[in-house]
Symmetry: C2
Subunit: 174 residues, 2 copies
């Protein structure tokens, strides 16, 4: 589809900026539809599509055509939800941002904090509406579901780590 190759056979070569950008924008658009704010989505996609899995602020601004301020904001958001981590580059005052392979989809999947607050709100609801009322029972069941999911997801992620090991070697990036 996009005209790939002719020559180029070492793995690290043949990076067509066109193609990369197309993927970045397309994938970012999907994230946006799922509720991720626009800039964070684009920054994240760009990192995902980079060979090293890390980019500096300058590189991000350049590739996405956005201001340093926008990069800063996006990265702050992504760090907060644990989808990227930031690392100071030893020499220069440059900062690098990294998609941390595993860690990020764990964040996506579990949503720890959010679920916990839902559970809390539901407990309050059961209390104040009364566990014996129909509505109270519905809330209690919903609560039970979330608690169930909590433990199941944790187990699932363990299985994934095994599966991942099986499919790909130990580590890949990082």
């Amino acid at each position: 589809m996009t005209e790939r190759t002719d020559r180029a056979d070492r793995s690290t070569v043949e990076r067509d900026p066109e193609a990369v950008s197309r993927f970045v924008e397309h994938f970012a658009a999907q994230l946006v539809e799922a509720g991720v704010p626009r800039m964070p989505a684009r920054v994240f996609a760009a990192l995902l599509a980079s060979d090293s899995g890390t980019l500096t602020s300058a590189e991000l601004g350049e590739r996405l055509r956005i201001s340093p301020a926008a990069v800063s904001g996006a990265v702050r958001y992504l760090a907060q939800v644990h989808m990227v981590s930031r690392e100071r580059e030893p020499g220069s005052r440059r900062e690098r941002y990294r998609v941390h392979g595993d860690q990020w989809y764990e964040a996506l999947t579990s949503r720890e904090a959010i679920i916990k607050r839902w559970e809390h709100a539901l407990r309050e609801g059961v209390d104040s509406l009364g566990a014996a009322t129909p509505a109270g029972r519905r809330l209690a069941e919903t609560l039970a579901f979330f608690e169930f999911v909590d433990t199941e997801v944790a187990q699932m992620m363990n299985r994934w780590r095994t599966e991942r090991e099986r499919l790909f070697g130990s580590q890949d990036d990082h």
Copy 2:
């Protein structure tokens, strides 16, 4: 219609509108934080906290102090993401909206459509960046993760149905 006795000892009674409202607003707030638009979140919470699990458009407007238009918009949204279903009330042209017990958190959890599109975008990415490149490998792994989650979640939901049966009787609402 509001004003339902005092005395009260049958399970269906003793609904303190104050307390209900507090729960509705609190839970809705949590949903909003998780990315659900405000009105849909409030409407949904109201349904969840109702004894029958169904409310008419008029009842919703009244309890939440919002216009019919707002109700309409919110319900359209919720129906689209399968968090409520609408049913025509046989006699009158009134419409009822219902939280369908199970169905809704299944929707919340699986997100079928969204995940599928992510997977699609990722496949394209692997193709156009090249499966042999570091970035391509990262995308491939991410893709594998989502595919893994797909099947795992399906199984998890089956287990939940069993568990639910065990905890609560066969059906509760509906």
